[in-house]
């Protein structure tokens, strides 16, 4: 009877405040929180670890959830989780082992720099989500091979601008052609065997210049901008500008067959028929190094874009690695039985792909110098080229095949294939575009290869849309930070490592500084005694006495050390025993 009246009394005359309308996150709040937790659990754990010292911070957000003044709680508490693979992508190196306690300053510096780099890594990973473009792809329907899809079908299926990137240039007079795309991917350079050189802004199909050098052309290469290119002609190396005006004829470089341009070093590496590998610094016009490889005609060449080492393929099946600082090869690898026909290295400098006269195509891990996979191609591949996203194109006769994931999974079928007219002479993926350029006997073909190019370029490095002003600015900056050729090594991060002096080296320095060897022991020379007391036997006896004395000292010291160690150990043991033997106040709750 009493309870209803009480309930009555509790009802106030003021109406209770209306509940706010239910929002979409409130029902699923628990769930989303769990999801968040699951995703970001690892991160949060890490964060908690770092926050253990910063107690104040932890107190502010005990559950990682803060109350706002309005009373509502944050539905998505804590920082947004970052997937692990994204973080891994931006990781530079592992944790540094921290020094002992007494190096407290060093420890502090390391901790702070580690924190900074972690933050940078996280920010970069976050920024990665915001990249605007996605990579291309090509997927067949069921029971449809992607390699059976023709270029015309792809060109029809995609938008007009992309479709226009599939085209053929019929140049049957001066072929076969070699080609090179500029670093931004906007410009194309074509060099016909019989002297025809042309550079084209290939996207707008605008011809920049066209000339016939009236000599055989072995190779063509863009230099650092689209304003200069090098042509390896019958006898000498020439440099032209984009209007086709001959700027230089470099007589030091003769019979050049293949060229590679190292963009960050401003070096043009050339391989000649006489077996010379030469480096030309194009910023100052000086020959940096000329190396006689003593391996005969060099017509297989590529660069490792990761460390600027030049790879040369030879007719005896070896691939050699070169830097301008050394007269001998850095590495010699026997890759094929029979000659090497083509070599290429991927962007990260991890994999090298070679093809040889034995009709095999092999994948090597170039960091460990180990073979990973070997494929047999019935006709053998004459040209190889890797795209930015790791697609491999191989020219077998007049057919261009494109493979995907050659290093991770054993591949049986090509990703794409295309037949061109005449045998393929030059092959190259266009940077930042899904385009593969093929130079062949009948001219040039630009093929669409979805998924080949890097979708997001970096505006400060290679910007396809840069204006003249931006290009000029970039050129100045790039020249200012030109890397010296001495810094070309197999491991490009070597410069950032600590050069630890060995113990011997340090000891030697110490001896030099002190003028005597502090660790050295002086040899005992017995004193000469007079009156016949210095007999040979006596001297020997004295020597032995001193020797024994020394030996005894050593033994005594080792015994003492051992005793001390033993004592320490015993003391520790006792301490432990005493600790474990003591009954603590909490022991009574034990069963």
């Amino acid at each position: 009877m009493a309870s209803p009246s009480e309930a009555e009394a509790n009802v106030s005359h003021v109406e209770k405040k209306k509940k706010p309308p239910v929002r979409y996150w409130q029902e699923t709040r628990g769930k989303t929180k769990d999801d968040n937790k699951a995703e970001g659990q690892l991160e949060q754990q890490k964060e908690q670890q770092t926050q253990r010292e910063k107690k104040r911070k932890r107190d502010e957000q005990p559950g990682g959830e803060t109350k706002v003044i309005s009373g509502k709680s944050d539905p998505f508490p804590g920082p947004a989780p970052i997937p692990k693979d994204k973080l891994e992508k931006f990781k530079r190196k592992g944790k540094i082992q921290k020094p002992h306690q007494h190096h407290y300053k060093l420890k502090d510096i390391i901790t702070r720099s580690e924190e900074a780099s972690e933050m940078a890594q996280k920010q970069a990973a976050r920024f990665d989500f915001l990249l605007p473009e996605d990579a291309g792809f090509l997927e067949g329907d069921e029971d449809e091979d992607t390699c059976m899809i023709s270029q015309e079908d792809i060109a029809d299926a995609v938008d007009i601008t992309s479709g226009a990137k599939y085209f053929n240039l019929k140049l049957c007079q001066f072929g076969p052609y070699r080609l090179d795309y500029s670093r931004t991917g906007r410009h194309l350079l074509l060099g016909g065997r019989r002297g025809h050189v042309a550079c084209v802004d290939w996207q707008s199909k605008q011809l920049m210049c066209e000339l016939n050098v009236m000599e055989s052309v072995n190779d063509v290469k863009w230099l650092h901008t689209e304003h200069m290119f090098a042509v390896a002609q019958k006898k000498w190396l020439y440099i032209y500008d984009s209007n086709g005006i001959e700027l230089h004829c470099i007589r030091k470089f003769n019979d050049v067959l293949r060229m590679q341009f190292l963009p960050y070093h401003f070096l043009l590496a050339t391989a000649s028929a006489t077996g010379f590998l030469q480096y030309l610094d194009v910023s100052v016009g000086k020959e940096v190094a000329a190396i006689c490889t003593k391996t005969g005609r060099l017509d297989v060449m590529c660069q490792n874009p990761h460390n600027a080492v030049i790879h040369l393929g030879h007719s005896n099946g070896t691939v050699t690695l070169w830097s301008p600082n050394q007269k001998e090869a850095l590495v010699k690898m026997l890759c094929h039985q029979g000659g090497v026909r083509s070599v290429t290295v991927d962007k990260t400098g991890t994999y090298m792909i070679t093809s040889g006269m034995d009709k095999k195509m092999k994948v090597f891990d170039i960091r460990a110098f180990k073979p990973l996979r070997s494929y047999f191609l019935p006709t053998g591949a004459s040209c190889l080229s890797l795209s930015q996203r790791g697609l491999l194109s191989a020219a077998t006769g007049d057919i261009v095949q494109v493979y995907r994931d050659v290093w991770s999974t054993p591949v049986t079928k090509p990703y794409m294939a295309h037949r061109v007219r005449g045998s393929v002479w030059g092959l190259g993926f266009c940077p930042f575009e899904d385009v593969l350029g093929v130079g062949h006997g009948e001219g040039f073909t630009s093929m669409l290869v979805p998924g080949a190019g890097e979708p997001n370029f970096d505006g400060l490095d290679a910007n396809p849309y840069r204006s003249a002003k931006q290009r000029q600015e970039w050129e100045v900056k790039a020249l200012l930070e030109k890397i010296q050729p001495e810094l070309i090594t197999l491991d490009p991060s070597e410069l950032g490592h600590v050069d630890r002096a060995t113990f011997e080296q340090r000891h030697q320095d110490r001896v030099e500084a002190l003028g005597f060897d502090p660790l050295g022991k002086e040899k005992f020379v017995p004193k000469h005694k007079k009156k016949g007391r210095s007999s040979a036997a006596g001297i020997e006896r004295r020597k032995r006495q001193v020797g024994h004395e020394d030996q005894r000292d050593v033994i005594r010291k080792t015994v003492e050390d051992r005793m001390k160690l033993e004592e320490d150990r015993n003391r520790m043991k006792e301490k432990k025993a005493a600790l474990s033997g003591k009954r603590s106040a909490l022991d009574r709750f034990k069963k």
Binding site: V158, N307, K347, G349, P450, G459, Y465, Q470, G496
Partner: protein, 460 residues
């Protein structure tokens, strides 16, 4: 068949009108930026070279004195005001922004020995060879008024050093003894002596404001507490100390400028050994002053150079000299930590930048960012031999260069001698531990020369 080919809309990547700024899309993927370390190294090398190119520290010379500048005083409230006293008894007040003298007064007969501005900035004290302490107003007298001190105290002996308390109306002088004065009285409220000597400089501690330190001509540095009647501590060095300066941030450290070409930083709690010995001068060090940040100090020397030392480094990071600058008598670090002022024998006061390559004036954000970036790079690669060599190189006058070399040879010879004597000693008595457990080898006393290490030999 499903297909997607990369196709970018140029409108997303090109600016709309030429009045916009250019669009620069970024992608921080490490594989798009090869040779990270080598490129950073090249940048660091360039930054280091550029720093040397832009190192132009000398800003202005203030001339007007008719005799050597003997002392300088900073104004505690106004950055642009500087006071200087010369050897003919003249005191000048300078406006640093305009590089001009705003007021001149004949303060003393003979040298102006010391000068200090009161903490409020409204008046200043001078002492001179005429045994007087004078208290002056900071404003110039009006038209027709005579230049007269507010107050004059006649002392019994010559005063050589002067400093004012940070907060209260008390100042300290030194001469035959260290005196603490109340501004209102004409006799000292307290006097300290410890042996017969004459003092050369006295300084109040900026944090523990009742503490003060002084250096005496019997090669000692003495610490006092104003509230006590006797001095606190004393340390005796091998040679005389000219000036001391307290670190304004960690005020338990003080640095003293010694006659033996070195500066010694002491922890006042542990006076047995100096915390650091700063070598590099090739003649007696005459003055020292800390930067207000407490991370660096500047020293003036008889060898006609000014050097800047990081507080915990044994060698200087910077040396300033000009052809015309003679023996530098006094030096001050400005209160905004950006400038250094030096007064020298040849009657000029010179204004220097504290960071030789710093760009003065307002910086745009991009400029600031670029400076920070290059600073970080220089820091990162500072230990690489080539960068280190460039960053460390300083052109020195021929005389100083040769003197440095000579000193190095002397030091080397002394060290060799030391080592051999140590060796001798060690081999003579292999059983005794005296030679070994002593941290450093025993130093044979050198007459009239500088001890290599540890200015303090005895503690009283």
């Amino acid at each position: 068949m499903k297909v997607k080919v990369l196709s970018r809309n140029p409108d997303d990547y090109v600016r709309e009108t030429k009045h916009d700024i250019q669009r620069v899309p970024r992608n921080y993927d490490p594989s798009l930026h090869p040779f990270e370390v080598s490129r950073e190294y090249t940048r660091a090398l360039n930054a280091t070279k550029l720093e040397r190119v832009f190192a132009k520290p000398f800003l202005a010379s203030l001339d007007g004195h008719r005799d050597g500048v003997n002392c300088l005083a900073k104004h505690p409230r106004s950055l642009s005001t500087l006071l200087s006293g010369s050897c003919d008894g003249e005191v000048k007040v300078w406006n640093l922004t305009k590089h001009e003298c705003v007021r001149t007064l004949q303060a003393h007969e003979g040298f102006v020995r010391g000068m200090v501005v009161r903490y409020c900035g409204s008046s200043f004290f001078t002492i001179g060879d005429d045994k007087t302490i004078k208290h002056w107003k900071m404003e110039a007298p009006g038209y027709g008024e005579e230049e007269e001190p507010l107050n004059t105290i006649l002392g019994k002996a010559v005063f050589t050093g002067l400093d004012h308390h940070q907060k209260s109306a008390v100042f300290a002088t030194c001469g035959h003894q260290v005196d603490i004065w109340d501004e209102q009285r004409s006799t000292p409220i307290r006097s300290f002596t410890w042996g017969v000597d004459s003092f050369s400089s006295v300084r109040f501690n900026p944090v523990e404001t009742e503490l003060l330190g002084s250096c005496a001509s019997d090669r000692s540095i003495v610490l006092y507490d104003m509230r006590e009647s006797t001095p606190l501590k004393k340390v005796i060095m091998t040679m005389r100390t000219n000036t001391i300066s307290w670190n304004p941030m960690e005020a338990y450290y003080f640095t003293c400028a010694n006659e033996d070409y070195n500066l010694y930083t002491y922890d006042m709690r542990y006076l047995e050994n100096p915390v650091k010995v700063h070598v590099d001068h090739v003649s007696a060090v005459l003055d020292v002053d800390y930067s207000p940040t407490g991370r660096e100090f500047v020293s003036a020397s008889f060898d006609k150079t000014i050097r800047i030392f990081p507080k915990d480094s044994a060698s200087s990071r910077e040396v300033y000299h000009t052809k015309r600058m003679q023996h530098v008598i006094c030096v001050k670090w400005s209160a905004d930590s950006k400038y250094i002022l030096s007064g020298s024998d040849e009657m000029n006061i010179r204004l220097w930048k504290a960071n030789a390559a710093e760009k003065l004036g307002v910086l745009s954000p991009r400029e600031k960012q670029a400076i920070h970036y290059s600073q970080k790079l220089k820091e990162k690669f500072q230990h690489h031999p080539q960068i280190k060599r460039i960053a460390r190189h300083r052109h020195l006058p021929k005389v100083i260069h040769h003197q440095r070399k000579e000193l190095r040879v002397m030091k080397e010879a002394r060290r060799r001698k030391c080592v051999s004597s140590f060796f001798f000693f060690f081999f003579l008595s292999p059983g005794s531990t005296e030679g070994r457990n002593d941290g450093n080898p025993p130093l044979p006393p050198f007459k009239g020369e500088v001890a290599i290490w540890a200015g303090a030999r005895e503690k009283v």
